[in-house]
Symmetry: C2
Subunit: 328 residues, 2 copies
Amino acid sequence: MKVFVNGYGFLGKLLARELMDHRVSGVKLVGVARSSGYVHRDEGLSPDDLKGDLSDSEVFTKGSALSLIREGAFDVLVELTPTNLPSAEPGLSNIRAALSNGIDVVTANKAPIALRYRELTDLASSAGKLLLFDSTVGGGIPLITLRRLCMRGDDLLSIRGILNGTTNYILSRMQFEGLTFELALREAQNLGIAERDPSLDVNGYDTALKLLILANSLMGLDRGLEDVRVAGITRVTQEAVAAARESNMSVKLIGSVDGEGKLLVAPRLVKANDPLCVHGTLNAVTFRFRIARDLTLIGHGAGEPTVSSLLNDLHQVVEFRLRGATSA
Amino acid sequence: MKVFVNGYGFLGKLLARELMDHRVSGVKLVGVARSSGYVHRDEGLSPDDLKGDLSDSEVFTKGSALSLIREGAFDVLVELTPTNLPSAEPGLSNIRAALSNGIDVVTANKAPIALRYRELTDLASSAGKLLLFDSTVGGGIPLITLRRLCMRGDDLLSIRGILNGTTNYILSRMQFEGLTFELALREAQNLGIAERDPSLDVNGYDTALKLLILANSLMGLDRGLEDVRVAGITRVTQEAVAAARESNMSVKLIGSVDGEGKLLVAPRLVKANDPLCVHGTLNAVTFRFRIARDLTLIGHGAGEPTVSSLLNDLHQVVEFRLRGATSA
């Protein structure tokens, strides 16, 4: 199975290394792209192709990899370009082109899945291709796959979660170190936890995108960003956090979908003994099921752990294609 | 797919009700057995067959269902007889007979899986049958399926968990209400949380059995009960619990498998902000993965939520058989 990784930042580099180490049986890494150009070898990349910024490779080609996608030059596209709002580009065009040209897609790019869920899943379904995106939400926590493959006899009634590690870190520092929002944010930026422009995180829109993905893919809804009531954490005061702590609670930025399908992102009080009440950069999600009742997953929502979700999605594609071959 | 439920206690009754409501597409409930006898209709049971203790049904037959299993009279055995040590009977004989006679097995009975893991999985594998047991550990938390289907690109390095809700309830009451072990145990018994003979729970052997299942099925080990160092909670004093609380910690009965494959069950100190530190009857397990790092699952370890795991295992059997039919 020929795999092409589009996006060669932190995640792309780690994933390429795993694939070059032959961690996924049956998978051959045939190409990697960054914004300025790409490397591609149908017989599989050599380690030398991946040195530095790719441009030293003898097969480096300037420009976008979209033409390769349109040619159907490989079997699976791993789409790792950055999340852009409101265009969802270039991920959206890449995913559309891949599915339309016989290519399965695995992606960690939130925007296309959050903003074009029905269009893209309809396209995948009519093309008989897979579109997998467990790495878009909760990093290394397999939220999508868990609900789809591990809880099939149950009904999912509601979702509540801490889906953004940056804001959780800031709120935790405000709670345990008495920092103001501004100081905690600056600290997070200095540590590389928050980006230089932290607005998507602190205004709640990163959480809203992830919540949309969970709601649309796991609860059968068809919601857009305009359907989510969003409040961020920029107005959370040190006094409010301290008062919560006095009452054995924490202020957390919670994304929730209730039984009526209402989507909400807002700072909420969470009891200290609620399994959802985790600190630092951790993410946590509580699914409420009809039979299993509350099931909470806690893990790392960003960084290297996300590669684990990408690899599992690739395993699913391998299995899906093998099964197709068997039954054909 | 013809399903037979062997064991008609709390879980068996709830599962039978779900199956009669046609919750699992493609599944027909053809029989149910209790210790004194069974009801069986090849065309599917009627609601009247399941009234009371089964003996009012016109198809009630006295005696064991083992003869039906040996005839291969159905497709899937759901084995729900009680856990007995050290014999693992009657579950062990039922599972052996089923797998040897072309019947897939789903079970919530810990003893056969914990004590005869290699024998039974070898038997299933050579017979080309499924043996699924996610409901034996962590009730409604899909621990086995999560590791197998959601984390396939990752390596599991170690496991640490609260696997017994009864002891967690007792320790939580000692911590938060200042009760002694004896008083907390009596309260748990009055509430139906602890059994009249609570020894398997409080001496740690229930946790040890579950730990063996996780270690052998998820970490490729081949360990027996004699390989587990087991200490229970009967000697945990109110003073020790109170001292832990003073230091922002809790005493928890932890089952663990480390990187060297050592299995240990013992009361351990857990920090209050560790995701594993859950209270009441909740169960919690932290898997440490090479890439995803720590992933914690928290949920209900006993009672009705366990039915959710049984249903998901049944869905897996349906899918497996459909796939077999397609590729044949």
